[in-house]
């Protein structure tokens, strides 16, 4: 075959100018209880290879229709999720809960009518203030995966502690600590608890908007509440219901103690991010990555609290 120089050049130019189109998201729901399915996120940082699909999503079927627990990072993800969920349940999506403001959980809400999307008032306020910044960051990291994803706000502020869907009642818990407003959901029929990002499992917790002491209080409340298996925001399903909560608490306790000691011992941020990670966290994905992120989030505050004033007139 002989290619003319012109067609060759044309081909090269087309290759160079066509924006790389991202692959499609693979939505693979696994049943974890009567009428409840889990769509696992990748236990990785947000990056082009996973299209930002790193958060766990749950699908709940009810007599009134399909309920989604979080809806992923982009419109394309959310459309694929809705199609998979409606195929599975045979019922249209009637409610989407957005657990908190972070974009890997909720930016996909733009694929739905905002009137069926519900979040805590604090989450809606935070999205109004910071959502565009998060969206810009996601476009920078993910490029074409995000195409068509505009920032929309949930249309329903959650004021009640439960919502009934034709007889299947879901309990809603307004908590905080991972962010200023963290929703958790209990399905009394199965005992399944959706922890959102208050609970991580074998994937290191992230702290960009965290308040560690209120986070601990929220974990205490979740632990004390009767429940069965736990769906963490990131990482594998915890059928026993205590391991993920305990591990999340262990990590944030260790994190705070380690960074506090690092400030007391005169370490700089680079060195604090290189502190050894204990063996008991060896199974945690992205542990070093999240430690270094947490140093960025928490270290300046610890320094301001722990280093003495030394200025003299």
């Amino acid at each position: 075959m002989i290619l003319s120089r012109r067609s060759l050049l044309g081909g090269v130019a087309a290759l160079a100018s066509a924006p790389a189109r991202a692959a499609d998201y693979a939505i693979a729901p696994e049943a974890i209880g009567q009428g409840v399915w889990l769509v696992r996120g990748a236990d990785e940082p947000i990056e082009a290879g996973n299209g930002g699909a790193i958060a766990n999503i749950a699908i709940i079927t009810t007599p009134a229709g399909t309920v989604l627990w979080d809806c992923g990072p982009s419109v394309r993800y959310a459309r694929a999720l809705r199609q998979a969920a409606e195929q599975l349940t045979g019922k249209p999506v009637v409610r989407v809960y957005v657990s908190h403001l972070h974009p890997d959980h909720g930016l996909g809400l733009a694929a739905f009518d905002p009137a069926i999307v519900a979040a805590l008032p604090g989450t809606i306020d935070a999205l109004r203030a910071q959502g565009q910044g998060y969206a810009d960051g996601m476009y920078r990291l993910l490029g074409d995966w995000m195409r068509g994803t505009d920032l929309l706000l949930p249309g329903r502020a959650i004021m009640a502690s439960e919502e009934d869907f034709g007889g299947r009642t879901l309990r809603l818990l307004a908590l905080s600590g991972h962010s200023a407003a963290d929703l958790a959901l209990l399905d009394p029929q199965t005992g399944l608890l959706m922890g959102g990002d208050l609970v991580f499992h074998d994937r290191a917790p992230s702290t960009p908007t965290a308040d560690l002491s209120t986070w601990r209080a929220s974990l205490d409340r979740l632990k004390a509440m009767p429940h069965g298996g736990v769906v963490p925001g990131h990482g594998p399903f915890d059928p026993g219901g205590t391991a993920a909560i305990d591990q999340t608490r262990d990590w944030i306790d260790w994190l705070e103690a380690t960074l506090t000691q690092a400030v007391r011992d005169g370490l700089d941020m680079v060195e604090a991010g290189e502190r050894p990670i204990p063996d008991r966290f060896v199974k945690m994905a992205a542990a070093r990555y999240e430690l270094q992120r947490s140093v960025s989030h928490l270290y300046p505050g610890l320094e301001a609290a722990l280093l003495p004033r030394v200025d003299v007139p």
Partner: protein
């Protein structure tokens, strides 16, 4: 006559080529588009080579492009007289130019990143030779061109002059010094906010001897945090003096903490 003139031109050309060769820095292993220009400005005719003993440490992710931690550790190299933190693709490429007079060749701070860029440490030996190392870091834009947090909050002036810090004795007659200043470190690249930053810092022992001194640019993050390792005259009181571009002076007296259980950090 013609021949003589021609040979003169050849000789002149050779001189020019030789001068040009002397000023040419080695090929950049990071492939930075700004390497040749920065090398010419910063190193002039001094010899330059890349040397992994200049340890340039930073996190794997630029979580905050307004405050990215960087540590330059050249303690494996004897005779270091100067350390420069160079950020190739920042509009303000030099963050710190440090002379560790009676100090270990180590400096850590936080810098602004305006885009994905090489971050380097360049250390100069007494002979004049420069040793360079570093790596690329990805970053969102705007670290240099977004207003400082304290400008947005509007409370920067209330905290100007506050300094936090401490000194920790280290083995080998050294002390680790940490100094955290409150300062907006305005780059001059934000609308209607003129350049305003700390520009000089000096750490002294109780006898007034300068242990280390540095020039500072607005590429250093808002609220500059600086870590050094200076010679410590048997636990004597250390002092720090700084000045900003408005001529405001800053002074600190550093208490000596107990021995750090993590001497040298790592």
């Amino acid at each position: 006559m013609l021949q003589r003139q021609a040979s003169l031109w050849v000789a002149l050309a050779l001189v020019l080529v030789a001068a040009d060769a002397r000023a040419t820095a080695p090929v950049d292993p990071l492939g930075s588009p700004m390497w040749a220009a920065h090398a010419r400005t910063l190193f002039g005719d001094d010899p330059v080579r890349f040397d992994p003993r200049v340890k340039v440490d930073f996190p794997m992710i630029a979580e905050n492009q307004r405050a990215f931690p960087v540590a330059i550790d050249a303690r494996a190299i004897p005779g270091v007289v100067r350390i420069v933190i160079l950020v190739d693709l920042n509009p303000i490429p030099i963050a710190i130019d440090y002379r560790p007079l009676h100090a270990a060749p180590y400096v850590a701070t936080r810098i602004k990143l305006d885009q994905r860029t090489p971050v380097r440490g360049a250390v100069q030996l007494a002979s004049g030779e420069w040793l360079v190392s570093g790596g690329w870091i990805d970053a969102a834009g705007g670290g240099c061109s977004a207003p400082p947090v304290s400008r947005v909050k509007g409370d920067w002036a209330e905290h100007l002059g506050e300094i936090r810090g401490e000194a920790w004795p280290l083995p080998g007659g050294l002390a680790r010094v940490r100094l955290n200043f409150r300062h907006p470190m305005d780059t001059g690249l934000v609308d209607n906010i003129a350049t305003y930053h700390l520009e000089a810092l000096r750490v002294k022992d109780s006898g007034g001897r300068t242990l280390g001194e540095m020039d500072i640019w607005a590429a250093v993050a808002e609220d500059p945090a600086i870590t050094l390792m200076v010679e410590d005259g048997a636990g004597a009181q250390l002092t720090a003096e700084a000045r900003d571009t408005n001529g405001r002076d800053y002074r600190a007296a550093l208490p000596m903490a107990r021995q750090s259980p993590m001497p040298g950090g790592r």
